[in-house]
């Protein structure tokens, strides 16, 4: 990064005595963030991603207020108005039960957000500690953890998730659980690799030389330096998790009706293409834009946070 090569002049110790203002004390962080913002703003796709994600979050937050027919999300039907094309009354048209698609899509954002957050969250919570431990401790501990991880990686994720859901029975909760179970190995892999490289750094040894205990080192030295790739991966996985949940929905193991979940909506709506195009188009667009957003955002973050780590 350009910034690191620049040396800020050393101010003389005269003024150093007077108490510093917040701005001065945090000058460096402020500068860092401004730098990030600057680099981010330079990249078109990153900004696109950010915009999409923000939009999505807003929808998730205020969906119920925006939806013209909130009851449509809780299974209100109106057979007389089924499969209406988009109109002033129904912006996105209506589905096969006469529910307003616009409302359902908007309300769906929250479901999707929930899905993404839980899956990636769980995966990270399981994966990151395992990864750090494996990477730092080495020896048989590492061997065991990595073997198990590789085992899970070798098993086809979707198939496994599917088997799990088939066992637990359909429903978002189960499908989220299943996906989390197949998702964590990715984090172990990532974090383990990163930890391996970080623990070779001098400052880790330096910490040991002043008598730091292992937990302290892991928490204060290893973890902070593993953070950026984790953040990047999380933002990418958000999208992918939503997508996978949708895929399970397609097989019929997704959200239960009448819950407004985009994947489930498409999997019903797909049989209505092309004559009732609007039915699948809008939830489809919902997923598409969300996943696109999170991926672009992730890419952007990668470029500014750690250009080095690869997508694994």
């Amino acid at each position: 990064m350009t910034a690191t090569s620049i040396e800020t002049p050393v101010e003389t110790s005269v003024e150093a005595n007077r108490p510093l203002t917040f701005r001065e004390r945090h000058a460096s962080q402020i500068r860092q963030w401004r730098l990030y913002a600057h680099m981010f703003r330079k990249s078109f796709s990153s900004m696109l991603g950010l915009t999409l994600v923000v939009l999505f979050l807003l929808l998730a937050a205020f969906g119920p207020l925006l939806a013209p027919y909130p009851e449509a999300a809780s299974g209100a039907i109106n057979m007389s108005a089924k499969l209406q094309p988009p109109s002033a009354q129904y912006l996105f048209g209506t589905d096969e039960m006469g529910a307003d698609i616009f409302s359902r899509v908007i309300m769906g954002a929250r479901t999707s957000l929930w899905i993404g957050v839980i899956i990636t969250g769980l995966a990270a919570i399981i994966g990151v500690p395992l990864g750090i431990i494996a990477g730092y401790s080495g020896g048989w501990v590492r061997a065991v953890i990595m073997r198990i991880t590789e085992l899970f990686l070798a098993v086809p994720g979707l198939a496994l998730a599917l088997a799990i859901v088939a066992a637990l029975g359909p429903g978002i909760t189960n499908c989220v659980l299943a996906l989390a179970i197949v998702w964590w190995p990715g984090y172990v892999r990532l974090v383990e690799a990163k930890t391996l490289s970080v623990k070779e750094e001098l400052f880790v040894e330096s910490a040991r030389s002043i008598g730091a205990k292992t937990p302290w080192i892991l928490w204060h030295h290893i973890l902070p330096n593993c953070l950026s790739p984790i953040i990047v991966k999380i933002s990418m996985d958000m999208g992918m998790a939503i997508l996978s949940a949708a895929s399970l929905g397609f097989i019929g193991l997704g959200a239960l009706p009448p819950a407004p979940e985009w994947g489930a909506m498409i999997s019903v709506a797909r049989t209505y293409m092309p004559d009732w195009w609007w039915y699948s188009l809008f939830p489809g667009a919902g997923i598409f834009l969300t996943v696109l957003g999170f991926n672009l955002l992730g890419d952007g973050l990668r470029d500014i946070l750690d250009p080095r780590t690869r997508d694994r």
């Binding site: 299974g75 209100a76 039907i77 057979m79 089924k82 499969l83 096969e96 039960m97 088939a166 029975g169 359909p170 429903g171 019929g252 193991l253 239960l256 009706p257 009448p258 019903v268 797909r270 049989t271 209505y272 293409m273 004559d275 009732w276």
Partner: protein, 529 residues
Amino acid sequence: MFGKIFRNIAIAGLLASSVLGSPASAFERTDKGNVIVFGGRQAIPVLDPHVRYDWSTRMLQQAVYDALVKYEGNPADIKPWLAEKWETSADGKTWTFHLVKTAKFHNGDPVNAEAIRYSFERGLKVNKGVAWMLKDFMAPEGIKVVDDYTVQFDLKAPYAPFLSFLPWWYIVNPAEVKAHEVDGDYGQKWLTDHAAGSGPFKLGRWEPNVLYEVESVENYWKGWPQGNNRPAGVIFKIIREPAAQKAALQRGEADIVEGLTPDDYVQIARAKGIAIEDHKGMTTFGIKFNTQKGPTADINLRKAIAYAMDYDALIQVYNGAASLETSPLPDAMKGFVSVPGIPRKDLAKAKEYLAKSGYANGGITLPYVHVAGLEEARRIGLVLLDSLKPLNINVEIKPEQWPNMVANGSKVETAPAMTSVYTTPVSTDPDAVAYQYHKNSWGQYFAMMFYDNPQVSEMIDKARGSSNWDERAKLYADIQTQIVADQPEVFGMLQNRRWARRDYLQGFQFSPVRFTGEVDLYPLWVKAE
């Protein structure tokens, strides 16, 4: 070397693409003649007529095998087939069948009494698929070969529906089967994807999960109704996605498809060159209550729900291609009576019953289980959910995989409060439906309501035992009324059977007794324009 290969590829490519570029070809033509393509969703894992049956399987079984008798027409009646005539003893326990002498198996062997005996024996011994129909009334020993072309069945007890089951007992060629028997498996392994029948078609290509082809037998012993127009064969092609099915039909890659969504049928009917087969079927739909456990054990609650249900919506779900049940029995069934006072939407009444029930002001959540992937069932769930809101009863719609659903439904403890079940009676005899309400049926998926009314069970036993139709008709009338009174389920609708076909496909014959989607391939033919 390779240069040459690639040149050839390029050339072939140009040719092929010019072919593909041209507008969708109609039905498949082969040197042998026209091949009809049937686009269906359900694969055929096992063809053995005594091991499995479901609509797709039985469609091909019917094509390659013959039975003593055959269902035809609407309303379905039993036509002599391998048996040209039969008589039954006064006590109704002995049946004697006289076979046609001309019938031949595909390999040329005659279809004789021994073949019949063996087939029935096999069906009973293997004890799978169709066995349940007769096993309680007939032992293998009870089948006697009188002479080459006469066979006699001795039943343990008089069994009125006996004849109505025989169309599903297909006759296999003992010689061939025995030849492929592996450690006493009655040739099950072999018959999984081979056939030893005498039917109008014989097996062609057999590519599991892709396509199953049958080729017409030129000199079929019973001849062909469409004469020389008989197709060279039929290909049953697996097309899973309704969208793909529709596309295939429009492109003429398939000549007839089943299982489109109700709205699709409406839509595609407008397309040029496509006709819709739309017939009233015998498949009943009911939302079965668990009458033994949980809130739904309370008859008043059941009544309340039944009166709250929006029945018109049921019809709308099918775009009108359905008719409401007026009795547990389908209209097309013998002995059907329309029961007066069968519940229709009436909120006042519903609230009344609710008040009498243990849940005077609702506030409960009931599960509604349906087979995952059954669109209509899911929508009916939504209708139910919407209908019960006024009663302040919440519905949790649960799609279940079929095996799980069946497993849960086999025990009172695990059976959900409400389950949506489609049932197609295997015969036109009222017993086929009535018996679902007999206590002995507990554990079957269609008996998930665990209906227990001793007096009804007793009447059913009586009815199936008697051979006097008038007496039976009377009994069945009472049975129907009583069942409706007990409300073990919300009596739904009879959905129409629908297929979309190219208009050049002729000879389609509908018979309500067949399963949803099942078609009798025998009379079909293609009218070349």
